[in-house]
């Protein structure tokens, strides 16, 4: 769903680049609190993790499948600033190396697939940090994750409409309807899988993941 080169008009990609740039700059400014040198490899490898996680296809409806976007999951597990930095570099590598998403549209893609889902993930992170996540936590995670995907898909259509590259035979409402409709199903997967993965990860290694990566004085190296 990456926006490719040549579609957005200069005012649109300029605005989105400024917005995404500001978000990444804010994340970089906020990150040092969480980012001691021990976190450097963790964040880099987390980017590679999202790449690999995107390889897993989840059956949505018969005949169709979707994969995780990853931003929402990172927002919950790492918090917004680190999640945004990781997602921004993933999208940059996808644009540079795989030509998946345009270079000039990178800001728009970072905003839609990085900043937005990471902020939403961070919004429900607080619920997971509590000692016992209950049904409310799952329901909220599913809903907010779903919302992020549908809002992102709608956002892409709005950006295309603002750039005047929607076919004239289609109204804005129809385009949003189709795109949001398709992504309503994908959104359920994003929300449900993110919730299930967070639950799994926390059940296995709660302290390691939510606590500081290595507590003061150094924790045991992992065998």
């Amino acid at each position: 769903m990456h926006i490719a080169s040549g579609f957005l008009s200069p005012p649109v990609w300029g605005t989105m680049a400024a917005a995404a740039g500001a978000a990444v700059a804010a994340s970089l400014a906020l990150a040092p609190r969480a980012l001691d040198e021990r976190r450097v490899p963790l964040m880099g490898v987390m980017g590679a993790f999202v790449f690999a996680a995107q390889m897993v296809n989840f059956p949505v409806l018969p005949g169709t499948s979707g994969h995780l976007g990853g931003g929402f999951l990172l927002g919950i597990l790492l918090g917004a600033p680190l999640g945004i930095i990781v997602m921004a570099s993933i999208l940059a590598v996808q644009a540079l190396v795989f030509q998946d998403g345009g270079i000039e549209a990178l800001g728009a893609n970072i905003f839609v697939m990085g900043v937005l889902p990471c902020l939403l993930g961070a919004a429900v992170r607080g619920l997971w940090l509590r000692e016992k996540p209950g049904p409310l936590t799952y329901a909220a995670t599913l809903t907010v994750g779903w919302l992020g995907v549908v809002a992102g898909a709608t956002g892409v259509i709005l950006l295309l409409w603002w750039s005047d590259v929607l076919p004239r035979g289609v109204t804005l409402g129809q385009a949003v309807g189709v795109m949001a409709g398709i992504h309503a199903a994908i959104g359920v997967v994003e929300g449900a899988v993110s919730a299930a993965v967070v639950r799994f990860v926390l059940a296995m290694r709660r302290d390691a993941v939510l606590g500081p990566v290595c507590a003061e004085g150094g924790k045991e190296a992992v065998p």
């Binding site: 880099g44 590679a48 930095i85």
Partner: protein, 261 residues
């Protein structure tokens, strides 16, 4: 999987390969910006961009088949729009086909409107492709650092690229193990759970791996900064290449604005 799958030709020794990565990045950005800043109704100003990319392509000895193949598979997004436009834009029908109860019509206006974004897409993807085909990724990351991209981001890119293949392999092993157990069958809930487990296990393994990497780096004197081996200064040729690219891009955009209003 291995990185040679992507920067397979980046280890070449042509004059283009020897150019400074920062200079090449600036040139690629200049080509891309010129392409997307030319107004949509115009195609003539794109010709010099295409010509410059062709020359670069030839000098870099990048195989044509590789580029064509990569360009054709890269963007489902562009492909979807390219197909949608001619069908959904009202206009004179050039060609129509009946699909069940619907009639699909390819219109002249639709083709004309699809041409602008699709041509830009190809030029931009081509420029990015050539940059990566003639520059090793680690050098590119170093170049970005010299272009004042924040150090955290550069480190992030370098790490990601290094471990992309490692984790993709790990994921393939996990998937194969799962497939050996359930063959992709079973009730929906079970399949969902097993896939969720895959992602969860991969996350934990990644987490552990990051810690091992940190200890290994600390043992080698890591102080929060990555140092790259190759830090050659910009030669006059590099400055010339970067400056000429930027000047040419500016001239193209100015030409488009002046000549076409």
């Amino acid at each position: 999987m291995h990185h040679v799958m992507l920067d397979h030709f980046a280890a070449g020794a042509t004059p283009v390969h020897r150019l400074d990565p920062a200079a090449k990045t600036v040139a690629a950005l200049a080509a891309i910006l010129a392409t997307v800043l030319v107004s949509r109704e115009h195609f003539l100003p794109l010709v010099p961009v295409a010509a410059a990319l062709t020359v670069y392509h030839a000098l870099g000895r990048v195989p044509l088949g590789y580029t064509v193949k990569r360009l054709l598979i890269v963007s489902p997004f562009a492909a979807a729009v390219a197909v949608m436009f001619p069908l959904l834009e009202p206009g004179r029908a050039l060609w129509s086909v009946a699909v069940g109860p619907w009639t699909l019509e390819v219109t002249d206006a639709g083709l004309a409107r699809a041409a602008a974004p699709v041509s830009r897409f190809f030029l931009c993807a081509w420029a990015a492709l050539l940059l990566l085909a003639t520059t090793r990724f680690q050098d590119l990351a170093g170049g970005l650092g010299r272009l004042r991209v924040p150090r955290v981001l550069v480190t992030q890119l370098a790490f990601m690229y290094r471990y992309l293949w490692v984790l993709s392999d790990e994921m393939m092993r996990l998937r194969m193990a799962r497939a050996a157990r359930d063959g992709g069958f079973g009730p929906w809930t079970l399949r969902m759970r097993s896939r969720t487990g895959l992602v969860g296990v991969l996350f934990l393994r990644t987490f552990d791996r990051a810690e091992r990497i940190y200890w290994a780096m600390a043992a080698r004197g890591f102080d929060g900064r990555l140092s790259t081996v190759r830090e050659a200064p910009m030669r006059p040729a590099d400055w010339l290449f970067a400056a000429a690219s930027v000047a040419a891009a500016a001239a193209i955009v100015a030409w488009d604005r002046l000549a076409h209003g």
